[in-house]
Every structure is written in C-alpha cells, then in structure tokens.
C-alpha cells in the first residue's frame, strides 16, 4: 500500500481537508468584528437638487450630495473589498416602501487611499426614478450602506446611523 497513487490520494485529500479547516477558521475570525469597528460617516447630505421632471411617464430627480466617510475601521485581513452605496428610501401610495441606490463605489483593501471618502457635490450615478409619477412632495431619506466581501467566508452588511432627509418640491422643476 505504498504506491504512488495511494500516496497522492492521501496528500490531496489531506490537503483539501486542511484547506477547508483553514477556510472555516478564516470565516470564524470575522465574527463580531463589524460590531466593534464601525466606519464613521460624518456627513451624508443632499447638496443640490438639480431637477425633478417627468420623463417617459415616470418621475425622475437628479441631484448631488456630500459624502464624508472614513471606512478604514471596518477592514481586516479577511476583507477583500467593501461595496459602498448611497440608498434613497421614500414612501408612496402605490409602493409603501421604495429603496433605490443612487451611487455606489467599490473600495478594495489593496487601495487604502480609497477608504476615506471626502467629496462634496457628488452627482448621482443612477437617477432617482419612481415606478410611477409620485415623487413630488415626498420625503426622501439618504443612507450609506456597505457590503463586506471577504476572501473566504460570510458576506454581511452594515449601514450608517447618520442619515439625512430632504423633501422633494411639490412641483416639477
């Protein structure tokens, strides 16, 4: 029982078992980290509402916002990247809950210079578009959320408690 195949078999399967064990340990090492280390969002606020128009039968708002956030605390060795995005939520009669992404960014662990965001007057990547024509006069909340994407293990989200709201005008502009 000392042929090449038996030895190869033993090495390969032992190697795979060790890899699996290490992956599980890597996943476990992240447990509780995001509760202890949270990013600091110092500013997320509407800067300027550029327009609110009816476009193809649906309401559409274009705006810009300020975002000051320090994402460094939430990184650790098993995080490959953070997917950061600004979410606008509002209610309408047709849809009691609407959550729309206005802007997103990929922040990779290998680019630490991206981890501190301090930009003003960021124009939205995706316009705030309603399913119908119900944006006028609605109150919109802006929130920053981020998705932790690990090298190996579980994916989990975090969101900022520092949110801001603004109200859209009653008429088209």
């Amino acid at each position: 029982m000392h042929t090449v195949w038996v030895r190869l078999n033993a090495v390969v399967f032992y190697g795979l078992t060790v890899l699996l064990g290490l992956s599980i340990l890597a996943a476990l090492s992240m447990y509780g980290h995001h509760n202890r280390h949270k990013p600091v969002v110092s500013r997320l606020k509407l800067k300027k509402l550029r327009s609110l128009k009816s476009h193809g039968g649906v309401d559409r708002a274009l705006l810009s916002f300020d975002l000051h956030a320090d994402l460094r605390p939430t990184f650790h060795w098993n995080i490959k990247q953070l997917f950061v995005y600004v979410v606008a939520t509002y209610e309408t009669k047709t849809n009691p809950s609407n959550q729309v992404v206005l802007w997103d960014k990929i922040v990779e662990a290998i680019h630490p210079e991206d981890m501190v965001i301090k930009e003003d007057n960021i124009f939205v990547k995706y316009a705030l578009v309603d399913q119908g024509a119900e944006l006028r006069g609605k109150e919109v909340q802006l929130k920053l959320m981020w998705d932790h994407m690990p090298l190996t293990g579980g994916l989990y989200m975090g969101e900022s408690t520092n949110t801001s709201t603004f109200t859209l005008p009653i008429d088209y502009r």
């Binding site: 490959k80 609407n98 992404v101 990779e108 995706y126 994407m149 994916l155």
Partner: protein
C-alpha cells in the same frame, strides 16, 4: 505506466468477480459514498429552502469581489430582500443562474410583493437588457437565494467539467473504479 495501472485494475476486477461477497461489499461501499453526498446536498436544500444552495460564479460581472470559479452559498429561507443584497436569479425559461446585486426595491402595499432591479457590480448598466422581452422588474420568485458566503476557486472544477463534458465521465469512471478495487 498508465497501461500497467489499467492492467493491475483489470486483474483486481477479475479477482473481485470471483469473490462475490467482496464484490457486494465494495459495491455497497461505493453506494454509501454516493448516497452520503446526496444526503448532504438534499439536506442543504432543505435548510436553505433553495433549489440550488451552492452555485459557481460563471462570469466576471461581479469582479473584483467574485471571480469565475468561486462558489457561493445561498440562503433562500427569508422572504424579505433588501437593496444591496447579492442575489442569484434566473430569468424565466432560461437555465443560467446570474449573480448580481439588487439596485432597486419597490414594495407593494401587501408588504410581500417586490419589484426588483439588479445590476452586476462590474457592469456599466443595469440588468434590464437581460430580462425577458417586456419584463421591467424581477419578482421574488425569480430569485434562487441570497449569497451568504463564499469559497475561492473551488468552483473551477465545475467550470472545467462544464467546458469539457467528457471529463465528467472520465472522472466518475476513475473514481468508481478505484473505490471498487481498493482494499482499504
């Protein structure tokens, strides 16, 4: 060298055929392994309430987070989906599962019906162009599950098997042969 191994296996198989009890033992051994694997798979399907609890990432549309060959663990047990969730969905009447992120969620007054728009992180535009003709939104039923965990590179084997189907038969053939003839 391969010829020697094949000849050795043939000798073993012939020996096995003569000893029916041993043959039965080895066949049961093989069956145990196959059924254990099946049980684990089905068990995962029950726990995650998903028809496909483990998927392989096939395209580069979610790079750099998920690369071709990574495997994703899915959980379909929660009805609720939120904006930003990484989900795997299938367009009606199409076979290929797609892994993208939810960009927009509109919830209807019943609190349960969702209309969703998705987009791959690495794509320039949202997925409307991928949906069925005339389909503007995805529903909760189109979603196979939410990605909750990932393992790198493990799915490379599946991609290789997919690209070269003959490998499937070769692999299963060899594995079956070894399990039948090994004496351990």
């Amino acid at each position: 060298m391969l010829k020697e191994i094949m000849e050795k296996q043939m000798v073993e198989l012939r020996k096995l055929w003569n000893n029916k009890r041993q043959l039965l033992f080895q066949v049961l051994n093989l069956a145990m392994i196959v059924f254990s694997a099946l049980m684990i798979w089905k068990g995962l399907m029950v726990v995650t309430k998903s028809e496909s609890p483990v998927v392989v990432v096939l395209s580069g549309s979610m790079e750099p987070a998920f690369q071709r060959g990574d495997i994703l663990f899915l959980d379909n047990s929660q009805h609720e989906v939120g904006v930003g969730d990484v989900v795997v969905f299938k367009i009606k009447d199409r076979d290929i599962p797609i892994v993208h992120r939810i960009l927009k969620v509109h919830t209807k007054p019943d609190g349960e019906t969702y209309e969703l728009l998705t987009k791959g992180d690495n794509n320039r535009v949202d997925d409307r162009g991928l949906y069925a003709p005339g389909q503007m939104w995805l529903g909760r039923d189109d979603i196979l599950g939410k990605a909750v965990g990932t393992l790198r590179y493990v799915g490379m084997v599946t991609i290789a098997l997919n690209d070269y189907p003959v490998l499937k038969y070769v692999l299963v053939g060899f594995m079956g042969l070894f399990v039948l003839t090994t004496k351990e």
